[in-house]
């Protein structure tokens, strides 16, 4: 049976300790710069904080995975190399990497440290995944959220590395690693700058009638009615008017979160080695609730008991959840 390792998010040292205490097998985190895909204001770790975090996690038999999962602009690789050097010096257990140049540097310089292929690399075919394994010694691939469970099962048989899938959290547009929507409005993107919808470009406006608009770089991307549940101010979750429809609608994706709690037994059976919880930008409260819920569920399944699945809908975006493409390609 696959171990069903729980890979949990941490945006601060306190969140990392919370994740470890709640039963994380590994925690992923990043530095306070563009080398990772959650480069948000006030979030992430200084090198000193990461040193303390590694020591704490290791003392509780948890691992620390360092996200270096953005793409350096051409010729400007020094920041990424320095981050890899620091991570190696501090004893992280693996690097989560998207860019081939970054993967190549780590594979040559630190051959004993594991490389996990980030979802930002968008490797979804056996051929693509094998390429990364053969050329950079990738030990694990984080699959994009575009595959059904039967597809994951069949990929597992054709690749020489472990599979990690997301099981909970933000459900981005289905072209992970290739999204430039935000770049169109703000000039910044998750892939290059580590930030989708930079907070400095986001504005929420409450109107007298109780409705609330969200704007990005001055463009209205949604307007929520009184009491209507809200979502993140990202373009992919925006509600737009288009010529062929009379009403404003979610053209790309609705405010909704992924929740695969009920699919865990099938994912384990399909050979998924590790389960990723999204949310480095979320609070300790979120980390505590979600990690504990999935710890209990995975332990139940591995012990042959029916899984006790906690209701997490209150933590989801728009207070709605989906099994996305994992359940059916017709999900949207």
């Amino acid at each position: 049976m696959s171990p069903g390792e729980l890979i949990c998010p941490a945006g601060t040292p306190a969140a990392l300790r919370t994740a470890v205490d709640a039963g994380a097998d590994a925690v992923y985190c990043g530095f306070q710069n563009a080398t990772n895909a959650r480069n948000f204001p006030g979030l992430n770790f200084t090198p000193d904080e990461l040193a303390g975090a590694v020591a704490h996690a290791h003392s509780k038999a948890s691992k620390v995975l360092l996200a270096l999962n953005t793409y350096p602009p051409a010729g400007k690789v020094d920041l990424w190399r320095a981050a890899a050097d620091t991570g190696a010096r501090l004893g992280v257990d693996a690097f989560i990497v998207a860019d081939m140049g970054v993967a190549d540097y780590i594979a040559r310089t630190y051959p004993d440290i594991r490389i996990h292929l980030s979802v930002q690399a968008a490797a979804s075919s056996p051929e693509a995944i094998r390429y990364y394994c053969e050329n950079f010694g990738v030990k694990r691939v984080v699959l994009p959220r575009i595959l059904t469970i039967p597809e994951i099962r069949s990929i597992r048989k054709e690749i020489p590395c472990e599979i990690e899938t997301f099981i909970f959290g933000n459900h981005g547009l289905m072209v992970e690693g290739r999204c430039s929507l935000t770049n169109y409005l703000t000039g910044q993107s998750t892939n290059m700058d580590g930030v989708c919808s930079p907070a400095s470009d986001v504005e929420f406006v409450r109107h007298d009638d109780g409705t609330m608009s969200s704007r990005l770089a001055g463009f209205a991307i949604d307007c929520f009615g009184c009491g209507e549940k809200a979502g993140y101010p990202t373009i992919c979750k925006g509600r737009y008017t288009v010529p062929h429809r009379s009403d404003a609608y979610y053209a790309f994706e609705e405010p909704v979160s992924l929740n695969l709690a009920r699919l865990l037994p099938e994912l384990i059976d399909a050979g998924v080695h590790a389960f990723k919880i999204e949310g480095r930008q979320r609070s300790k409260s979120y980390v505590r609730s979600v990690v504990s819920a999935f710890r209990a569920a995975v332990d139940d399944i591995r012990a042959g008991r029916p899984a006790n699945i906690t209701d997490l809908v209150a933590l989801t975006e728009g207070q709605k959840q989906t099994q996305g493409a994992f359940a059916t390609k017709k999900w949207r």
Binding site: G11, G42, P198, A199, F204, V205, R282, S283, S285, T316
Partner: protein, 176 residues
């Protein structure tokens, strides 16, 4: 409140304004001590705030008779109760029920989830709000308990009572 029943709307507004000012004066000494204590014990908060430690935040607990004006400047931290009808300038505003705000500060509730459910409103400079949230979330332990502890046993008793009242109110909502 029935003592307002005989007043015309303008008179009621004046009385409310006076009540609000009196409340501000009463809680002011405590608030100043709270922000100094938190700043002294958790200096890392200022690093996460970055340049926003010089900003002003208006925190608006909707059911209290006053709002709160926070300037987390390490050199001159200030936390003041301010009447709603004359709030000073602030870069960012955070609005919600008092106990929700307290639970957010203590990481008993998730800020994004409270925003999704529309229980929490933010406006103004979103980066300032995100930095404040992340800075406070990295504080270990309970800021609310530290603040209540300044008043000793009575402070802790008031906090425990508030929490109980809020819990039963929240349960009442769920059953409704």
């Amino acid at each position: 409140m029935h003592w307002r029943a005989g007043l015309d709307p303008k008179g009621a507004k004046i009385v409310r304004g006076a009540g609000s000012r009196l409340s501000c004066v009463l809680v002011q000494p405590l608030l100043s001590r709270v922000v100094r204590r938190i700043g002294d014990r958790h200096p890392s908060v200022f690093a996460r705030l970055g340049i926003y430690k010089k900003s002003a935040f208006l925190i608006d607990p909707v059911e209290l008779p006053f709002a709160l004006h926070l300037c987390p400047d390490p050199e001159a931290p200030a936390f003041r109760a301010v009447p709603r009808d004359s709030t000073p300038h602030a870069q960012a505003m955070i609005r919600g029920r008092f106990m929700l705000l307290l639970e957010l500060v203590d990481s008993q509730r998730d800020g994004d989830a409270a925003f999704f459910s529309r229980d929490l409103e933010v406006s103004g400079d979103t980066e300032a709000v995100v930095r404040l949230r992340n800075a406070l979330d990295d504080v270990e332990g309970s800021i609310a308990e530290e603040a209540a502890g300044i008043l000793g046993a009575p402070g802790r008793a008031i906090l425990a009572r508030l929490r109980r009242a809020y819990k039963s109110e929240a349960e009442g909502f769920q059953q409704a």
